[in-house]
């Protein structure tokens, strides 16, 4: 298969064979190719080392490398599958795969659970939800009285925390999300279904053979 014979690509650190990645994800080979173009531009934006570090990730998401925040950190940590402090191409594609419209619901539920389980204890605890709520309020400059925040938390946990132990476990989360499917909206990026047509720049640079797709 001589499709990706460009030596520049083989030597690109963090690069993984698109055919392999396509076989493990909901993306087609040409879509993985398109993602590689995106990956290249993100990973080279601060340090040209072929890997995405946290600064570059923030820059890509917010167009502002200084914007550290709770959610961005959390997402970066999840994308950084091997916990090395950077995201390589395989991590990038596999993580984005969860956000694909065709990704299994189970994976999205799993991912969102991990996202909200800030300290990784295997439970979403009340103080974590509170932390995220406060972060959101700061970000959106919404002002809610402390009391109101507590009431919101109370009611949320009343519904989500079935055994009332003060924390939400994986199966409680699953039930909760089935009753409130809109909570998983953030876990899907409709863009991903049409990468190669939505972003002309990717098509422009693609080396993929028409036949190979």
């Amino acid at each position: 298969m001589g499709c990706f014979s460009s030596t520049q690509r083989r030597q690109f650190p963090g690069y993984e064979n698109p055919v392999t990645l396509a076989s493990e994800t909901a993306f087609s080979v040409s879509e993985v190719e398109a993602l590689f173009e995106l990956y290249k531009s993100i990973s080279g934006s601060v340090i040209d080392d072929g890997l995405i570090n946290k600064e570059e990730f923030q820059l890509a998401l917010f167009k502002n490398r200084k914007k550290e925040n709770l959610f961005a950190n959390r997402i970066f940590d999840l994308f950084d599958v091997k916990k090395k402090g950077f995201i390589d191409f395989g991590d990038f594609v596999r993580s984005l795969n969860v956000f694909h419209p065709n990704a299994p619901l189970e994976e999205k539920i799993d991912y969102s659970f991990k996202l909200y389980d800030l300290d990784g204890t295997g439970f979403i605890e009340r103080h974590e939800v509170k932390q995220m709520l406060i972060a959101l309020l700061c970000e959106s400059e919404m002002k809610l009285a402390d009391e109101t925040v507590e009431i919101i938390l109370d009611k949320t946990f009343m519904e989500a925390d079935a055994n009332q132990d003060g924390k939400i476990d994986r199966s409680e989360w699953q039930n909760f999300v089935s009753k409130n499917p809109s909570l998983l909206k953030i876990m899907t990026l409709p863009y991903l279904r049409d990468i190669t047509t939505t972003f002309p720049s990717f098509v422009f640079n693609s080396e993929v053979d028409e036949i190979a797709t």
Binding site: M132, K185, L189
Partner: protein
């Protein structure tokens, strides 16, 4: 690098978005709830009768990864075309203009998704898109007999 697709907003009456690449009707409903949705919400079980912390959290822009897909220097090109016609009429005109410009337009509720109907040329697809959108603009504006706000000029500048 320029994203040749542009968004069109219709200002009068019901404001709704025509955004290529996004066909998620839920998004529209979230932003512009229609009367039907309000009704549906009222009939839903108690879970929607209070604000759920996770629903609030999910509204965070910081959890929206679509920023990854936006071009760095991109100033999203918004072309506003004003339509004096009713919504359905306007939608029909958009579809007609799209057909003129060799674009396929799919309508879902109040959203329109557009994409080229043929295969993209391998060489210079960017200018191909430029031509497509310019044609579309021209065609739609003549159908609407509305004000074309330097659509072609803006596109030309970017390319």
């Amino acid at each position: 690098m320029e994203d040749a697709w542009f968004q069109m907003d219709y200002v009068p009456a019901l404001a709704y978005e025509c955004e290529e690449g996004k066909d998620d009707a839920d998004d529209v409903r979230a932003v512009y709830p229609s009367e039907q949705d309000m009704e549906a919400d009222k009939q839903m079980p108690k879970s929607s009768s209070f604000i759920n912390a996770f629903q609030l959290i999910a509204m965070s822009q910081d959890l929206d990864l679509s920023g990854l897909f936006e071009e760095k220097d991109e100033v999203k090109e918004k072309v506003m075309l004003v339509s004096d016609h009713a919504i359905d009429d306007t939608m029909t005109k958009i579809q007609a203009a799209a057909a003129d410009a060799n674009l396929l337009a799919e309508r879902s509720n109040n959203k329109m998704k557009m994409y080229p109907s043929g295969k993209l040329p391998r060489r210079s697809p960017r200018s191909y898109f430029f031509n497509l959108s310019a044609e579309f603009c021209k065609s739609l504006s003549s159908l609407l007999k509305g004000k074309l706000m330097s659509c072609v000029a803006a596109q030309a500048e970017e390319c």
